[in-house]
Symmetry: C2
Subunit: 202 residues, 2 copies
């Protein structure tokens, strides 16, 4: 029975959270395989035994990082909760582009980065990542449904498909942004996604 993520008492919980936060920061920046446990150990100001006290092994820690990354990305987009007008969708897109400008187009999408490294080889991580995308596109799909119900979208529009296509434009826009180090790539992708959605106005 390897020391998995036992429920903790008091200060131990803080340590565990510090480890996950530090590991997430390092892994999102440098990648899963390029990050060593010693990098995490140093970044979290923690000893080796603590890592193994709270996580069974590196894979276990990585899965906690996957969960934290998804929560972090979605948590950074409060607009998701209220996407029920063209203006709100547009403002949401603007903020996504602004983040890329601020980061000088470095980093891409943290979730997308994990997909490339984990989806094919770690089944558990793949399920978590797929769940992350579901949590990402569902609010948009629901928003589009509300807009359709209010007559802002034609009856024959398919909110779920539109949401998926929009998420794809976003992810791809981020890949191009990272590759070209140019946030305008995301702008172009999201402009097209918005135009496509708006083409379903009544």
């Amino acid at each position: 029975m390897p020391a998995a993520d036992a429920p903790i008492t008091s200060r131990g919980r803080a340590t565990r959270e510090r480890i996950v936060a530090a590991a997430t920061e390092v892994i999102v920046r440098r990648g899963v395989t390029a990050t060593t446990l010693d990098d995490v150990r140093a970044a979290a100001s923690v000893s080796k035994s603590q890592l193994y006290h709270y996580f069974a092994d590196k894979d276990d820690l990585v899965r906690a990082v996957v969960a934290a990354t998804i929560d972090g990305v979605l948590g950074g987009q409060p607009q998701l909760a209220e996407l029920s007008s063209w203006r709100m969708i547009s403002a949401w897109f603007d903020s996504l582009v602004a983040v890329q400008v601020e980061r000088h187009a470095i980093g891409g999408c943290p979730i997308g980065g994990l997909v490339g490294e984990l989806a094919d080889h770690d089944d558990k991580a793949q399920v978590m990542l797929a769940g992350g995308y579901a949590r990402w596109e569902a609010p948009l799909a629901r928003g589009l449904e509300r807009m359709r119900a209010r007559g802002r979208l034609r009856r024959d529009a398919n909110p779920a498909r539109l949401a998926t296509a929009t998420l794809a434009s976003m992810q791809g826009g981020l890949v191009l942004t990272q590759a070209r180090r140019d946030p305008e790539q995301l702008r172009i992708a999201l402009d097209a996604a918005l135009a496509h959605m708006r083409s379903f106005r009544p």
Copy 2:
């Protein structure tokens, strides 16, 4: 003066090509950092000294792999040369989806995978990858220009932007395909991209 990629004579060139081909296969499948030179050595049936005879170090080999990957991906899409009708674009998209079905949605986009691992940290690789995307979208942009010249596209359509947005949909569709292990994700993304382009018909 480290033994870089000296111009080779006869059989040496074959060895070098064998190394690059094997390294490309392994790296595209498992990732750059997860691939060891010993993996490459074994896959190419080559000795350690040969790797260092033809490449200065791992980074040097990786850059050759980046070039080979770009050539491979673009070479696998002969349709790129002739994209001057909606039918041809649609057929091109169909073949991209077919590849994902065949691969059971495993692997994503080889170029996109390299972007995630290299774009932020290896400037030379970033330039190569950006060049790869340029070579990818240029034929589409030219095709759309020809279509515009022939009156199949409105004058106010912007072929370059449409090509970029389409490439983004494709890349993002591949990310979602890989994350969800479902080639339909690429289908949805490319359907939307096609609809967006077609919305500029006269």
